[in-house]
Subunit: 145 residues, 2 copies
DNA sequence: TTACTTGCAAATCGTTTGCGATATA
DNA sequence: TATATCGCAAACGATTTGCAAGTAA
């Protein structure tokens, strides 16, 4: 990440991107794998993972890191938000008041029964910002078709 | 979850809660495990996990499910928010405009370099709401000391 | 006394990676 | 032809679980 990349538009990559674009249900890698196998029966799950990684680095798709299995715990049971360092994983409290009304703004607009929300800021902690900014190369990448 | 629970205040549970309350760095289960071992050298990692689960169900602590390894992918690269069903894991887009200014509100207040944010609503999809509400028992639980 | 909880070890699950083979540019 | 990418299988890391023994209420 944050590095230059030469990429090739392989058959696998193309099908993965096309299939994902067709779906509107935010599939997991495994669900997408099952779909893609209709067209490429010999594709491997590892290939799907690798391509999703590449495509999201290029900004062609989004990776939703939600509801993960790696948990962190907070001794403070009061609702509040967090900032996470994208480099070292450090987590701090975010200096922003809890927005207790934000859930109401969905009231007529969704059929879900809303139970809560989670807001997380992503960034670089002061220490990592030093390191990363020192070696950052802002190269733009383009994707073929 | 969502079920009644009789709990006992064991030595392990007490130390885990006390230690976590002392820490302000949002530890992972493993980090907490290392700390607790100072007091209870024979405690197992499984016990730490089980207790953290119980304590968060009781509302004594918070479980931060961030930055997880379980990913989902979105063919739409435009920034937007999501609603996730806490019962079946289904994910839909949230009908809420992207708040492009919210990151600015942290500007003077944190030393982090903010790169983005993620907002996720948690709730029950229409199907699961049916099921769950049918068998919900709203029992309050208390924790000893 | 009893059923909740523990320590231990094995199992699980999503994801990542090393390898030699393949195919894109 | 170069080397990015592939398929495969093994490795990985966090978490969960089965079980027999221990213990709080």
């Amino acid at each position: 990440m944050l590095t230059e990349r030469n990429m090739r538009m392989t058959r696998q990559r193309k099908v993965i991107l096309e299939e994902l674009r067709k779906m509107n249900n935010h599939p997991s890698a495994d669900e997408l794998y099952e779909r893609v196998r209709q067209y490429l029966p010999r594709i491997s799950l590892g290939t799907v993972y690798r391509n999703l990684e590449v495509l999201s680095e290029l900004g062609e798709i989004q990776k939703l890191e939600i509801s993960g299995t790696l948990k962190r715990f907070d001794g403070n049971p009061k609702k509040h938000y967090h900032i996470r360092c994208m480099n070292c994983g450090r987590v701090d409290d975010a200096p922003l008041d809890f927005m207790k009304n934000i859930e109401n703004s969905l009231l007529g607009a969704t059929k879900y029964k809303i139970m809560g929300h989670r807001l997380e800021f992503i960034g670089l902690c002061p220490e990592c910002f030093e390191q990363v900014s020192a070696r950052w190369q802002g190269k733009k990448l383009k994707i073929g078709s």
